[in-house]
């Protein structure tokens, strides 16, 4: 029998419901037995969060993978949550459209999983995150019934925004079964410019990029180690690599590239070069989020103006950042200071603040959880711990 192991908890039997009604039955059964329901999709991020605190079932959503409705001219799509990101991309590509959100391991990762962890990558600077694209959602609640919020139109303020509530909720508020997305036309052209930068120059260079006449969709900083680990070729002979991306109409991209190159002429950077395949750069940097060799992977949100200082203080090694969003990823054999530990050896999960310093609203979040899932059916223990 297929099982899923999460941390050091006993292996969970996998159930793979074929219908939403089956999901409801599984939830009701688990609740009656005082068990937990652990939703899983592509199983790419099972190690995120704290260990399960109850026996139960791993609810595999991957059989719920149908496209429900794709009115391409309305620029929306409704799909079941178990669809893989790659399959979703392929469907949208047929109409020259896309969801401009980077997700690691797209061949395996599901949309539901991406929603649960609010996955994103380099392009978030230009396009935002899933909260800007999810316009409708359905999920199975602790009562075993499917409820929905939002709808299939791009503008809609009827009812509470349960889309926002589910995005990043780590599957603790139900099993997401269906998602409606607002999508975009694929940009006509893209470019990426990468260059090396010294530690001292990094702050001023990021300020320059913030003020650039161009309007990048991605501004990434990677340590030389991170750049190599992402298999993006030999890094420049400098501790930091900066990669800047443009996606737009061809004429607009060309102008931005030229403009940036001009702006960089007087800047303390070296080895400025075009990346031959810009999409590959963003995908490779996104994939670092799941790098198998890293014992610890940390993710911190800091003021963008402090990114260079934060990186300078981080231990040398494998770090990278969505620099103008202030999102810093660090990898190593020891935990980074601050932020969330997206990966942490299970023995250390008992000692370290896996979810970082609790935010000011932590008590209110816990109260929302206990109000909406009083018997703690969904992913018990993994977000709020202990319970």
């Amino acid at each position: 029998m297929d099982t899923v192991s999460i941390d050091d908890a006993p292996p969970l039997p996998v159930r793979r419901p074929a219908t939403v009604a089956d999901v409801g039955d599984l939830v009701r059964e688990a609740r009656a037995a005082k068990h937990g329901v652990y939703p899983v999709g592509g199983r790419t991020t099972l190690d995120v969060g704290l260990p399960p605190t109850r026996p139960g079932v791993a609810l595999d959503t991957t059989a719920l993978n149908r496209v429900i409705d794709y009115p391409a001219r309305d620029m929306t799509i409704t799909v079941q949550a178990g669809v893989t990101i790659a399959a979703l991309r392929a469907e949208l590509a047929k109409e020259g459209q896309w969801l401009p959100v980077d997700v690691a391991s797209p061949e395996r990762a599901t949309l539901g999983g991406a929603v649960a962890l609010n996955q994103s990558g380099p392009r978030r600077y230009g396009y935002g995150t899933l909260r800007d694209y999810v316009i409708g959602i359905s999920f199975v609640t602790d009562d075993g019934v499917e409820v929905k919020a939002g709808g299939r139109v791009v503008k809609n303020v009827a009812g509470y925004d349960l889309m926002k509530l589910q995005i990043g909720a780590v599957g603790t508020l139900g099993v997401v079964t269906q998602v409606t997305l607002k999508v975009k036309p694929k940009p006509e052209a893209s470019a990426a410019v990468a260059f090396g930068c010294s530690a001292d120059a990094l702050g001023p260079v990021l300020d320059l990029l913030h003020n650039s006449k161009s309007r990048p969709v991605a501004v990434e900083v990677a340590s030389a180690d991170a750049w190599r680990a992402a298999d993006l070729g030999p890094a420049a002979d400098a501790p930091w690599v900066v990669a800047v991306g443009f996606e737009e109409k061809a004429a607009t991209v060309a102008w931005q590239r030229t403009t940036l190159l001009d702006e960089l002429k007087a800047a303390p950077v070296r080895d400025v070069a075009d990346a031959p395949d810009p999409g590959k750069v963003w995908a490779a940097l996104t994939e670092l989020q799941l790098r198998p060799e890293s014992r610890f992977i940390g993710k911190a949100g800091v003021p963008p103006s402090t990114v260079a200082a934060v990186l300078a203080k981080s231990p040398p090694g494998l770090v990278h950042a969505h620099a103008l969003n202030g999102v810093v990823w660090s990898h190593g054999d020891a935990p980074a200071d601050g932020g969330v530990l997206r990966r942490c050896p299970v023995a250390d999960k008992k000692k370290l603040p896996v979810w970082g310093k609790p935010p000011a609203a932590w008590d209110l979040m816990r109260h929302v959880k206990t109000t909406l899932d009083p018997d703690n059916v969904f992913n018990p223990g993994r977000l709020f711990g202990g319970v």
């Binding site: 001219r73 309305d74 935002g128 709808g151 303020v157 009812g159 995005i167 607009t252 609203a361 979040m365």
Partner: protein, 494 residues
Amino acid sequence: MSTTLTKAAPAAPSAADLVARMRAIVGPDNVLTSAADMAVYECDGFTIAKTKPDVVVFPTSTEHIVDIVKACNELGVGFLARGAGTSLAGGCVLVGGGVMIALARMKRILEVNVRDRYAVVEPGVVNVWLTNALKPHGYHYAPDPSSQGACTIGGNVATNSGGPHTLKYGVTVNHILGVELVLPDGRVVTCGGPTEDGPGYDLTGTVVGSEGTFGVVSKVWVRLTRNPEAYRTLLGVFETIDDATNTISDIIGAGIVPAALELLDKTMLSAVEAAFKFGFPLDAEAVVIMEVDGLAAGLQEEADRIEAIAKKNKAREVRKATTEAERLALWKARKQAFGTIGRLGYPSYCTQDGVVPRTKLPEIMRHIQATAKKYALGICNVFHAGDGNVHPILMFDERYPDQVKRVLDASHEILAECINLGGSVTGEHGIGVEKIDFMPLMFTPDDLHYMVRLRTAFNPDNRCSPGKLLPTAGGCAEPSSSVSQTKPGRRAAV
């Protein structure tokens, strides 16, 4: 599973007690009590539903709000936060009376941080003030409701407001990073903030659009957006509404994401022209304002593509704003269109707010025209066509109950058709008290029950913004004391 809703304390406090408590908190200058003053605060832009508050109080700090909320709880009275009262679905109607917390005097911009792309504002800051303050930096606050000269950021947060430029830039929630919230029990909690990706639930995103039912927002962190380098603003003139809506559909279908696509119909044009003398063609059935923005490089080609699409759809003419002054004059005419409706000779109007998938615009526009004929009503249209967000404006004289009834019935038919076409009954104005009847048409009892459960987590006694957004207890038997059952508006009409 039923939800317990605690009733207000049995012995209602005397009005004098309530006023005395409020004066003690904010000082006598920050309290209004006269009947004339209460009349100002009895409704918002949806003038069909009215309830006078018992007292209006103007806090100037979060501490004031906390004390006001705690006093309301002690005395067992309802309360509601109000910005500028420009909303259009009765969101500012204090159902059951109580304390109106008017946030207009909390109007400071507390911080602008361009490098980290955020600002912190008090809820009473008027939308356009923020954009004006950001001008020297080359940034703006993107959501721009037509009422942006009056409406407040706090009110925008409550209703998740839109505006003409949401087509490209998104609605309010896409630009809100955090809120400080006074919970209905008086606790203060900060959700989100200027840094991204904090752990746990996105309570900020959940609070935005909750129509004041989760608490009183006392501070807001907003995202700043860089100004576009250039604009191209076109005005397509069409002989038929179908030609106009087909143009819109084709522009979107061609993979162009304009900054705005706004349609004005013939009746609307006559009012706007009378007021602004812009030079709109009075014999055209519709005009569409079509704007693209961004970097200058490549923008003209995009405008040319739009012009070609309009011409292919039989546009009689495509005019271009050649100067910034012309562009601003055009937008002034658009944004102040509502204010010109008086020129059409009706004392009152009701602005509807339906949404359809954008490809269904021809159908819904035909339905609106047929409905106007069926109910012998004047209806004009000015709306966010690129989003499929229609705003039929139903004109009437509220002194005649028969007219009010026809307006309500016609509104109902139009909104029901929006649902039928796969859309929604509100794109940006909210459910308020006006559209509660529609919630069971859009959502199942299970959906509504879950929303009531969520509200209970924030607002267990339902004393904060009572009678809004959700049908009473999501189908559970909670008798409604103050708003009539099937058509909230009828209360005022009869």
